[in-house]
Symmetry: C2
Subunit: 196 residues, 2 copies
DNA sequence: GGAAGTACTTGACCTATGGTAAGAAATGCA
DNA sequence: TGCATTTCTTACCATAGGTCAAGTACTTCC
């Protein structure tokens, strides 16, 4: 699995094999069972997780005890509390495992060292931030305007490959609606003879 | 006003006076009246606006013709369609002037040139992206969970200095509620003897 | 293989927010 | 100064989505 991570880094960030080996000691492999909590609110998130296999999610818990899912991460995705990771603030997010997973995590120092080593890596990282912003902006736009149905349809289109691996209640949480509402939306779609 | 911009750049980005003068030809001053549209959906947003004075906003318009405000920008803030700016995609946002303004705009090339010139500038830019992500994450969290009242209270706290300059209907649009709802929320708060 | 938990659906009811329309207040403009 | 326009509020009804409670699958795990 470390090979998969290495391949990802070399293919995507512009680091050479040699540069990568200099950083290898900052890379850790972790095998985790469903339910494992990798980050809790108020901890400092000083590592970023890369999913080799399985699925993680990040979420908040409000005063009523309700979960609000911020992100899912499956194969070849990163997940972290970026605020905490970059600003050394207490995390606002929880991160846990929703499908048995193999993850690689890197310490903050990996990023710093990699950026020092290679301008290409810095550019890769900036690009990742920009992509993240683009995605979040789209989501904000949906949350401002769209109905439950529209949000759901957009979700299954955008996340087609992983939709079937995510429990419906978690999709509901991601969309900001209740599982009951989602169930009703899906029933209505079925009535209208909608096929994903 | 160009002086104000120069001061901002030198104080915040780590560019030296000399480095700045090398880029000065990529900086443009613009005086704009309330109502002026600076960016329309589907245009390529190849410039970023820095507000010296006055106020701008970015927003989308949905199929029903409704506005959804993404961001306000007053003195010393930036505004642009980042997706379009960085990825050369057609913009999803409109940007217009909601209070007579003096703005500086820089072409994309300014960023590229500045990053080449100074590693500090690149770091400043990355930091700006990270701050943006932090802010958006907070907003997503509010949109997922909070009531109209809570969103409003958070808004006036977060944007205390500019709240009084923004029409209520625009605040409503930013929060994803109708002006009527906001009016009701405010009435209820007044009844509870709430003072901002 | 059966108990216990988890996930999903359904129905009845409720509430916050939306829609519409109209009036009041504030602002801009001539 | 006063008319026109925009902004904000109010009142009324409509509705999407939330809440609660129960019922029916599915999993999981001893």
């Amino acid at each position: 699995m470390l090979e998969q991570f290495k391949k990802y880094i070399i293919d995507n960030t512009g680091l050479s094999e040699n540069e990568y080996s200099e950083l290898e000691h900052l890379v850790y492999l972790l095998e985790v069972k469903k339910g494992t909590v990798l980050l809790k609110e108020n901890q400092i998130c000083n590592r970023a997780f890369f999913v080799c296999k399985g699925m993680l999610r990040s979420y908040t818990i409000d005063e009523m005890g309700k979960n609000h899912i911020i992100q899912f991460a499956s194969e070849n995705w990163w997940i972290a509390d970026r605020s905490s990771f970059y600003f050394d603030e207490p995390a606002e997010l929880f991160i846990d495992v929703i499908e048995d997973a193999v993850v690689v995590y890197i310490h903050k120092d990996f990023i710093k060292a990699a950026e020092k080593l290679s301008g290409k890596f810095a550019r890769f990282n900036t690009l990742a931030l920009q992509k993240n912003i683009r995605q979040m902006q789209k989501r904000i736009n949906y949350l401002l305007a769209a109905s439950a149905e529209k949000k759901y349809l957009d979700f299954i289109e955008t996340y087609r490959e992983i939709t079937c691996r995510i429990p419906l209640q978690m999709i509901a949480s991601y969309l900001g609606i209740t599982p009951e509402s989602l169930s009703r939306v899906r029933k209505e779609l079925a009535r209208k003879n909608f096929k994903p």
